[in-house]
């Protein structure tokens, strides 16, 4: 913010500042409220969560719901499945995006801009458009009902290529040429020289991919077709509700939701700098 706007701001009447502060507080509270309600509800007793009008703060917080949740769905297994899906998918996206991003940023070859445009266009394709044939294709190569069926179709995506190209384009050509003079292979140059110099962008992409595939629901639901052993946590969570419909234990559902939300939220809290920077980067440069 420039000095002129700063000095301007000093002239603002304090009444407007108070109004602005109040508004900001209201927005923050409204934004945080649903998750706060989720955590609070997960700590209620079954009787408390059925009370009308609703109780906001549990009088005797209990972890009962968390213990019970493991009796209904296999929490450990589901979290592990989610971790496997999100980690392997992320690793794949990083490798394929770095390689393709490097080619688009640093090589000149016939049809480069056409190929890039075609790939980028897929970024705007809602997954439902390809869901039906993809379901059939994955089924015909025998990958339905398995984690591989969830992972393999997602090992490369246009957003990753786009992001990597944007950042690798900023790596000086001299650096790459010097390594070539020394006889380094292109793959070695990419992973030993280029990749380290775009580390923040790689971190951002990794976090994005991990959270996206941890949260992803439509594709796993379609591929798995009732194979409970392979359920990621988000699908187990949806089973919790259908179990819950008769039993009406809101606390149970909220405990499950809290567990599913925790990993992406913790990642975000510690690494939000990267998230924000990469969104800003992709928006401005794009």
């Amino acid at each position: 913010m420039s000095s002129a706007t700063r000095s301007l701001s000093r002239k603002r009447p304090s009444g407007r500042k108070a109004l602005l502060a109040t508004l900001m507080l209201l927005v923050a509270v409204a934004s945080a409220f649903p998750l706060a309600w989720m955590v609070l509800s997960s700590l209620k007793t079954p009787a408390e969560s059925m009370q009308v009008p609703p109780v906001w703060i549990p009088r005797t917080p209990t972890f009962e719901a968390y213990e019970k949740v493991s009796g209904v769905i296999n929490v450990g297994r589901s979290m592990w499945n989610s971790l496997v899906i999100a980690s392997i998918t992320t690793a794949g996206i990083l490798v394929t995006s770095l390689m393709a991003g490097y080619a688009f940023a640093k090589y000149h070859f016939a049809g480069r801009s056409l190929l890039f445009s075609v790939l980028i266009a897929t970024m705007f394709l809602p997954p439902i458009v390809t869901l039906i044939p993809l379901y059939r294709m994955v089924g015909s190569i025998g990958l339905t009902a398995s984690l591989a069926g969830i992972i393999v179709p997602n090992l490369a995506n246009a957003f990753g290529i786009f992001l990597m190209r944007q950042f690798i384009a900023g790596v000086p050509d001299d650096l790459i040429d010097a390594a070539r003079m020394d006889g380094a292979s292109e793959l070695l140059i990419l992973f030993k020289i280029v990749a380290p110099s775009v580390a923040p962008a790689i971190a951002a992409l990794a976090l994005f991919a991990f959270v996206y595939h941890w949260n992803s629901y439509l594709w796993p639901l379609t591929v798995l077709q009732g194979n409970a052993d392979s359920y990621p946590i988000v699908i187990s969570l949806s089973r919790l509700l259908s179990y819950n419909r008769g039993a009406v234990n809101t606390g149970l559902v909220m405990a499950g939701a809290t567990l599913a939300v925790l990993p992406p939220l913790v990642l975000f809290v510690f690494l939000q700098r990267f998230f924000v920077d990469s969104i800003v980067g992709s928006a401005i440069k794009g």
């Binding site: 602005l20 393709a100 869901l131 969570l237 990642l267």
Partner: protein, 296 residues
Amino acid sequence: MTKAFQTSAGIMLAPAVTLIGIFVLLPMLLTIWLSFQDWSTQTPFSEASFVGLGNFREIFGPTSIGRDFKAALLNTAIYTGLSVILILPLSIAFGLMVYQRDVAGGTALRTVLFSTYMVPMIAVALVWSKLYSPSEGPLNQMLGLIGIGPQPWLSSPRSALVSIVFLNVWQQVGYFTVLAIAGLTQIPGSLYEAATLDGANRREQFRYITLPLMRRTLLFSAVIAIINAVQVFEPVALITQGGPVGSTNVLTYHIRRVGIERAQGGLGSAMAVMLMLSLIVVVCALFAFVNRKDSE
């Protein structure tokens, strides 16, 4: 460009291009091809038989297939329109709150707003279904405190779709706020200085500097918001199953129900093609609109 680098380019591109080719481009072409076929999703592609525009006639026809599809298309349009109309102005307002330096706490506000974007939609749907609960939910309780009677939220065909729009806006607005902040940082401070010297007040500065220079950002945000909105699935699949009375039957849910669950792959593909065409038309219209404004 030496020959060696042509080979290198091929090696570097092969993994991503092969994967995207097989798992995105090929299924997209198959969807288009299948939309002209009579085909059951349970059978191999070789079982498909050509029916010309038959599927399209059916999904726009007078039977229940046509009625359901047209209703789903309309629901999706309403849902998408409302989402964009709410998200864009809020993202600018929140972006200004984060960006300004008169009151501290902007960055903290950004963190709180953006954190909701990390929450799996399935958890969002579960939590909001409880918030909306007519008797045990806190929303009606709070409305009661300010003298507004209980709302039916998800249980009435009049309010269910809008209720899902609200939870979508709540989840996504933080992401668009960050986009808005990115746009705001691109506006040179000197413009505001000059305007202040010319005696322009804050409202005029917003109207004649901020908004016009945010046009590109808003276009980008609108396109992303539209693409995101047509993907709404979890709250519908989990909470409303398209109801009550079909009021929340949106396209992603409907296409999956027809094409996967009922295995009517040809019909489902025709619906997917219509969705794709609608998106192309809307996005092109948006670009044309903004470009015309730019040249004015």
